[in-house]
């Protein structure tokens, strides 16, 4: 009796898990399959969408890499992502340390304030920022994204790193300062080496954020050569009403899966950061 109940419970768990895995991953599965589908296979509604009714082909991947701006989009995204990570780290590491150790109660409030900035949506700001970008002469330039993206990444990174610094025992710096280090030197020589994993997490989030972002990239940049992946793929790879479906789906899934994989590895730390405000703040 108990073994039957146990068996039923296991079966139910697997059923629920399978359902949600399918719901989440189904589009990606179809994207991968379609990447290699021949035109006469794909564009015939009677064909089974899960199998290759005609031999698979690499033509559409070749088309994507050789005849479209796809590689330009990838390069642009890496350019923007790398610079935004650098700006974010340079600005939010000191800010987070300041809020965690140097500013006391006042800093705690400022920390929550900075976190709330994370909730101000790009949809509210993109019109005035578009004017700002035009005013600075940066429209149609990747530099517009380099300047604007840190407005999203700095608040969240500062918040996350603040929690990280707070979890390091104060005694460590105090011991170093007794040994004759200044506060500044103690920060660089004692705290920073201990914070490598926090800095890596922030790097990953900032970089993926620049890959995810859509509204600013859509608004600030209109020339194809300066588009990033998130806008270039859905906008530029569709010519008028002509969808190059296999190439389009390939373009999406090639970036989506690796980004999803890396992001997943750091997800627990992200959740820690998101819930920190409610539970301990």
């Amino acid at each position: 009796m108990t073994s039957l109940r146990h068996w039923l419970k296991q079966a139910l768990i697997y059923l629920v898990v399978a359902f949600f895995c399918f719901f989440s991953a189904f589009p990606f599965l179809i994207m991968i399959i379609n990447t290699f589908k021949d035109d006469k296979d794909l564009y015939r509604p009677q064909n089974n969408p899960f199998i290759y009714n005609f031999p698979p082909t690499l033509d559409h991947l070749k088309f994507l890499f050789e005849s479209t701006n796809y590689m330009t989009f990838v390069k642009n995204s890496f350019f923007v992502g790398t610079l935004v990570v650098i700006i974010t780290l340079v600005i939010s590491i000191p800010a987070a340390y300041s809020l965690a150790r140097l500013t006391g109660r006042w800093g705690e409030r400022a920390g929550i304030g900075i976190f709330l900035v994370y909730l101000v949506p790009p949809t509210l700001l993109f019109l005035p920022l578009f004017r700002t970008v035009v005013f600075l002469g940066l429209n149609n330039s990747l530099w517009s994204l380099v300047v604007i993206y840190p407005t999203i990444s700095i608040p969240f990174s500062t918040w996350l790193l603040m929690g990280f610094f707070k979890s390091i025992p104060k005694d460590l710096e105090e011991a170093a300062m007794v040994d004759g280090y200044s506060r500044l030197a103690a920060f660089f020589k004692v705290i920073m080496p201990l914070s490598v994993s926090g800095v890596i997490a922030v790097t990953v989030f900032t970089f993926t954020l620049t890959l995810h972002e859509f509204i600013y990239a859509l608004t600030f940049i209109s020339s194809s050569a300066s588009k990033t992946i998130s806008v270039g793929v859905p906008i530029e790879l569709v010519r008028g009403d002509v969808f190059f479906w296999q190439s389009l789906l390939a373009a999406a899934v090639i970036v989506a899966l690796p980004v999803g994989f890396v992001y997943n590895l750091f997800l627990d730390r992200l959740v820690e950061g998101l819930t920190m405000g409610a539970v301990k703040g």
Partner: protein, 315 residues
């Protein structure tokens, strides 16, 4: 002469700044605060200024027009529809997300094989760039080639003489009700992972002894789940809801790529509408007025949920 005597050696002066905590704290914090003031706070007030002027992409002078922009957009049936749809999409998707996230989180606190892989797959929609995921859905819901059509036809649910009608295609994005349902489904698909993973974190942090005690007292799985676990993770659930709501309410990528607001304007949302007005139409003032409708709602939701989270925490 005296001044040299008073001035300490340079090295010492540097050290004193490096040791004075409030000064160092200020210097460390200043760039972040400055960045946010310049590119978040000021633009926010500029958005308000835009909304009461006739500024456009062509004419950038700010001429005060009072509430004219708001009156114009409030008289526009398309805007009213966008406002209603945004609210409807957000509320329905959040209800579904909360229900599903509870199921997913409850299952993932159990032991089963392949958990790591399963979690990875379930998290994918949230971890990948939204615009690329929606490209996938665009194919999945295509009017002619949707894989769902093929599945339904082969299950004998779609096609001549079947339950779902004589045609061989659902045309998910071309029919008002179905298009709205499709948009909601993509929002659920996108935000369910975040809500689930936040709830999972909450559930795993619950003191094991408490659960063991309840089991000893004879409580079963669902009773433990609803009477003990849910109340304990309530603050975290409010936070999950807050993020999920903000991301859904202010999103424009899903609708922009999936339906462009169509068919007709039946799936229009505020974000896309603000973009069409402000950037494509060039009427920055009107666009800003549309976007400003976000703010009071977001503020109210944020304050309410953060308060609720705090209060439950104290109890």
């Amino acid at each position: 002469m005296t001044s040299t005597a008073v001035t300490p050696p340079r090295n010492f002066q540097f050290r004193s700044i490096a040791d004075r905590e409030n000064i160092l704290g200020g210097i460390f914090l200043a760039p972040a605060v400055l960045y946010i003031l310049l590119l978040v706070a000021i633009p926010f007030f500029v958005a308000i200024a835009f909304s009461v002027t006739d500024v456009s992409v062509g004419d950038t002078t700010l001429d005060f027009v009072g509430f004219r922009n708001f009156i114009v957009i409030l008289r526009d049936p398309q805007f009213i529809r966008a406002l209603k749809d945004t609210i409807l999409f957000t509320i329905v998707s959040q209800v579904l997300i909360l229900v599903f996230a509870n199921i997913v989180a409850a299952v993932f606190t159990q032991e089963f094989r392949g958990k790591w892989l399963a979690r990875m797959l379930i998290m994918l929609p949230w971890a990948t760039p939204i615009s690329l995921g929606v490209i996938g859905w665009l194919w999945m819901l295509d009017s002619k080639f949707s894989p769902f059509d093929w599945i339904l036809v082969n299950l004998n649910l779609l096609g001549p003489g079947t339950l779902l009608g004589p045609g061989n295609h659902m045309n998910f994005l071309g029919r008002e009700g179905l298009a709205m349902a499709s948009v909601i489904m993509v929002y659920v698909w996108r935000n369910l992972p975040l809500a689930s993973v936040i709830l999972m974190a909450g559930l795993t942090s619950i003191d094991k002894d408490l659960i063991d005690q309840a089991q000893v007292d004879g409580a079963r799985f669902w009773r433990i789940h609803f009477r003990i676990k849910i109340p304990l993770v309530l603050p975290i659930m409010y936070i999950a809801l807050l993020f999920s709501m903000v991301f859904t309410f202010t999103d424009m990528a899903v609708v922009f790529i999936l339906t462009r607001g169509g068919p007709v304007y039946y799936t229009q949302v505020l974000g896309v509408w603000a973009f069409f007005k402000g950037i494509q139409g060039g009427a920055l003032g009107e666009g800003a007025a549309v976007a400003l409708f976000f703010f009071p709602v977001l503020l109210a939701v944020a304050i309410l949920l953060l308060r609720l989270a705090r209060r439950t925490e104290v109890n």
